[in-house]
Symmetry: C2
Subunit: 686 residues, 2 copies
Amino acid sequence: MKSKYFFALVFVSTSLFAQKNEFRFSDFELSTSLNSNKQFTYSLNYLGKHIIKESAIGLDLAKPLQKLVAFNLLGLDTSEVNTTWKPIWGEQDEIRNNYKEITCHLQSINSPSILMDVQFRIFKDGIGFRYIFPKQNNLQYFIVKDELTEFHLSGDHKAFWIPGDFDTNEYMYNTTKLSEVNAMDAASKEKDIAVTSLISNQSVQTPLMLKSEDGIYINIHEAALLNYPAMNLNLDKTNYTLTSTLVPDPVGNKAYLQAPFNTPWRTIIISNKAKNILASKTILNLNEPTKLEKTDWIKPQKYMGVWWEMHIGKATWQKEGGKHGATTENTKKYLDFAAAHHFDGVLVEGWNKGWEEWFGNWREDVFDFVTPYDDYNIDYLSKYAKEKGIKLIMHHETSGAVTSYERRFDTAFRFMQLYGINTVKTGYVGKIIPRGEHHDGQWMVNHYLRVAEKTGEYKIMLDAHEPVHSTGLHRTYPNWMSNEAARGTEFNNAPTLGIVPEHQTILPFTRLMGGPMDYTPGLFHFKLNQFDSSRKQVVKSTLAKQLALYVTMYSPLQMAADLPENYLKHMDAFQFIEDVPVNWSETNIIDAEPGDFITIARRGKNTKNWFVGSITDENERISTIKLDFLEKGKKYLATIYKDGADANYDQYPESYNIEKKFVDANTSLNIKMARGGGFAISLIQQ
Amino acid sequence: MKSKYFFALVFVSTSLFAQKNEFRFSDFELSTSLNSNKQFTYSLNYLGKHIIKESAIGLDLAKPLQKLVAFNLLGLDTSEVNTTWKPIWGEQDEIRNNYKEITCHLQSINSPSILMDVQFRIFKDGIGFRYIFPKQNNLQYFIVKDELTEFHLSGDHKAFWIPGDFDTNEYMYNTTKLSEVNAMDAASKEKDIAVTSLISNQSVQTPLMLKSEDGIYINIHEAALLNYPAMNLNLDKTNYTLTSTLVPDPVGNKAYLQAPFNTPWRTIIISNKAKNILASKTILNLNEPTKLEKTDWIKPQKYMGVWWEMHIGKATWQKEGGKHGATTENTKKYLDFAAAHHFDGVLVEGWNKGWEEWFGNWREDVFDFVTPYDDYNIDYLSKYAKEKGIKLIMHHETSGAVTSYERRFDTAFRFMQLYGINTVKTGYVGKIIPRGEHHDGQWMVNHYLRVAEKTGEYKIMLDAHEPVHSTGLHRTYPNWMSNEAARGTEFNNAPTLGIVPEHQTILPFTRLMGGPMDYTPGLFHFKLNQFDSSRKQVVKSTLAKQLALYVTMYSPLQMAADLPENYLKHMDAFQFIEDVPVNWSETNIIDAEPGDFITIARRGKNTKNWFVGSITDENERISTIKLDFLEKGKKYLATIYKDGADANYDQYPESYNIEKKFVDANTSLNIKMARGGGFAISLIQQ
């Protein structure tokens, strides 16, 4: 039936369809046109302002050898959707999905010609668009050599960016004008990232956060990255045009595809208020609903872990050397503490044999994922954890040897089932095997998905470290709960750059646009020479800010990263970590400015209680919060965890005050945040 | 203890060891020397003649970045071994392993210096040598960029060669002087090989068969190819020096290794009699004994298959199109015929879903290896086969998507167990995935071995098609019974070059030096337009020669490749296929000349009966055979299957005579072979 419809359109296209079309929805005006070279372009206005100037689309194919850059327009379809849906878990109970869809049916002018649709969806806070290759006679299996999507910006915006790279997204963010982007220079300052594959001096990654001179916030990213490589962006500084750069495979191809196929969505989220960027659900809406029939086994979790003590030199992952962290005794200590404070899980890294020579040799069969060190009694510990009402969390570090992992992951997941372990943290530190593949290429994108699907079959929850950036796939695969995919807490211990105070005010505008991040907050000890006096690293945060991150940095898997003995020194502050939920009925982005500050309030899932987190960058700041989001006429006990009067990130990070008072919806709070500080509030309805 | 010994040697080396050393064993004289550039060289004389002139050894490492080409000699060890061992199956009951071993302990003059041994074994029919990297402080994980092994030949020998290639060994053989090697030209005539990756105009593959002007036969190959890429040879025509060229990985590296490590053996088999080359067991002797504890489940087999009918257009692998070969009914027909004639198995190709779009798209997940087409009732057929005392043989075509296969092979082998199927033919037609890897690179060499080991665990026998060349690993992994790894019977149907009559007289001197080949002989119908009148291809062989191949082309898995209906027309000749064993107690290479003819007699395993096969090239020839290998004083009934008086490969290939007579050890037979012909004899002790 579909082809019949197309056929009909061919005959009427010249008369029926103008070469330029305009579509309006909410505050947006989208134009598409075919220029004199038969190039198909789009442009986008917001509140009457040019956001995206005329920008070309297209693809370069390696097989068949064709550039898809000139087209005839066969027809247009438009429709509108306005529905709501309920995420399995997340930041709010219900999400509205309201958009206008325009599908432009194009036919390439090559011979033989290829049918390709460009499909746009205009939401209230931006647009998404993607390429669709319908089933057709002239195209079955095909290979993408390059994608030629342009984003022609209207000026020299302020940009929050990290260098374009095929293998890592763990760079520190840079804040510069677009004209000052210098990816190689920025990357050259980084010494602590395991594997980098820089693209060029003008390449940046998505999500790319921009702010125009007239105060428009623009976020460029992608949604539903499936069976396709990740997109980087190459900047032409002469005209502020960004062009898609896909991650290559070992022979330089980008994607091996079969029609029918649709690419991931290219997304542009736009608002004149920064907080609306954080509130956007457009990327999630562009992902498909889950196909999982049963999801009741998927549970947001708070967890601790035998992990940070390895980073700071108290213990080691490997058994050799006598400082093994993942011993039965030490794990029991964590289980006891975590259970006493109502945590859900304890991650144990370094539990399995192979850590003595795990890194840097680009070799297979480093780990088998089923053989514990002989000082780690997994049978005993899994039973012990069960008695305490808590679960072990599995760790599968692949060291990049993904072929090895795929050969063994079925066995590894069965091993987990045997011990009642239903959450796994995966890791991809090192150069990828298959050799020549990159962390963010199509093959690896498919691998991460395979793990998500396999773990889904085994009813296992997944948290991937060092994967490709997140693109909202947690809607479709809700057991794939969180990712690292950015510079997380562990970089506080990196000798060269560490983590700067503004970092956590940028991440929600960049990395987290694609989905939850396992940032692993909750450090309570700030000088990292605690077990190794030679270390100079410090955590550039106050303790109160660490608490605030549980609200500002959304994840359904939320870690309390520090050691039990460090928490024991500040149990009054730890109470917030114990109380804060990891799943929410409502989220209110109170105020935010990328690079400066973020204040968010959230209501715990199916409760009346709210939790507020507010963080600042390296500047001190007073945050004013109207509690008008509270239920009218109800009294709440507010517990305010804030920076001490002398606190700041570089001198007295551990100085904090805890204040309790009764508040209601009419209350307004003015709270000072120290340099590198923040505050957290629990609001318990009385 | 080992290092202590080395230490002692360092101090005495200058005085104790001369820079030139000579070693004699049997007819060989091996010399090693350190020249003025500290290069380590070897040379080899046979019966006083130069076979290998001074030739350098060495390796170029990518990590650490070092060329291992200049050395100090720390010491020498020599020893002699003279033992026998019994193969699990093979050409003879017992194999003598008699050699002198010389281990040269070298230390590179790089800083830091690397310890490397060169270990030679001199046998009665040639030598092997390899590089050994002992455990040492200066070398743990390392990467080989190139191997620099030279074979400096003494003249412009006649060579039987195929073009050097990283992906295929299915070329037609060329017979030229070394000075006339032109690999690109030769390859350009080939149109029917799925994937080729030629190296250079001067590159040839091993086994390379040579014959000097003064009648010395020389075969260069490798033994025990494990965790290392295959070796090709690059020819310098100015001095007739061959240099090793290893197959690269996607980024150009050759091998990722960890000390202690030893490379495969480089082998040079030498004799003034061609038949001694075929009789050599040196490559087998250089492989390790099996580690399998139980081997009683490993059985040599004769099999038929739903296979050739797809090649000649009677049927198709795919179900779509209505000519599906692997139907329940058709398989029953093969099972009935095979069982009636005491075969062991029936191979069924095209049994599983995926064949509609299986080739040429460089994609994963083409096959899942466990889903039959719905007109193939594997449950019924496996039971039916069992009733008939025969077994189905499984087919796993990977289409080159090896990552897919590795993810699924455990499941696939369990599926086989479920149906009582214990032999698998694997296939690797297509470009390899991991993309950028080659059929013959280290990663794939490791893959083939993984399959051999996995099938061993599941008590499954293995026959790999399109794998790397064989190197005697069937001694160590006796369930890995046969390989294709050369131009087999299917190429009779290839439109461009087909198979020339001399082909089978070269294969035993080249491909089969490394081990059994699943050549799939036994064609009884020679014009291949039987089901498709447009086909021009003909089988360039007589029927009698097809019978002879069961003796001349050794394999413990031996197919009768043709269709039951074609055999039914010549059941008197088929009797030889029914009678001929696939496992032997004794083998007598009666006479042979590469490219011209081969005559072999073999005694069936634990029987008194002998079987003779003799084949010729495109020339007719009279073969004289003294039956002095028969037991003295015993009478035998000889059944002689020979070319008819008018037979020849291009006119009357199906013309044959069968003659029966009584013979004994004093009998001498003179039998004429037609052009492209041959004969087979069964000798049954009375």
